[in-house]
Symmetry: C2
Subunit: 137 residues, 2 copies
């Protein structure tokens, strides 16, 4: 599905994403990652071939959640939950992470400055369903 | 396992928990909740018999993640991941949520003020493994 503008704004901000993948034994694996938006896909970069990458290659079902700094009328913090289908591509992770660092760390970020890094992996998430608490729910 | 002091401090703070349970089809279900600590268990309250409660009753494997506001030497935000085993008890949710509201909303919070609310459900999470980025990892 297309990403609604309200959700896109949060996905493109410096708010962190809690990315859930599924372990081989069916239990959830979570890490907190930087994300960006590329067209109608959410993207994240990984330099090593870590558990997340291995999990997504085996089972593309992912969920991510992001807190806002806004509260609703009950005083509950608004948050976005995205249920999606992910795929992994090889290469380009360092460039993506350096780009995302400008959002997450600031325009002058010097993230992963070494020039001999491996290409890494990019997770591309197609959005299947949006929920949570906020204008997108 | 016992909860390390560094993790306990975060679990008892106003930082929100992203709680993952497992849907019947094996996909992850996520919501952002208030949590507290009771002895060596993490607790959360739910007034309705929602999806989380139903999922935990079927499969007690849960994971929760919490962001700090601290960054490590690479400029990455520290966060806690708890892998645990959860069980549900009935009743006491409103009292727990009113108590947690003092932490999450402030000492004068007037959360769920009605006096005719159902007892709800409490999730109790026994900690099996702690990871993430921070002094607990």
């Amino acid at each position: 599905m297309e990403i609604p503008d309200s959700a896109r704004e949060l996905l493109e901000s410096a708010a962190l994403a809690h990315l859930v993948t599924i372990n081989p034994d069916g239990s959830p694996q979570v890490s907190v990652v930087w994300v960006g938006v590329d067209g109608d896909e959410i993207v994240a970069g990984h330099v090593p071939h870590n558990r997340k990458v291995q999990n997504i290659r085996r089972d593309g079902r992912v969920t991510l959640s992001i807190e806002t700094r806004r509260q609703n009328e009950m005083g509950l913090t608004e948050y976005l939950v995205v249920k999606g289908t992910a795929r992994i591509t090889e290469g380009g992770a360092v460039e993506l992470l350096r780009e995302l660092a400008k959002t997450y760390q600031g325009p002058d970020a010097d993230f992963l400055p070494a020039d001999n890094l491996p290409g890494g992996y990019i997770t591309h998430i197609r959005v299947d369903k949006i929920s949570g608490v906020g204008p997108w729910a």
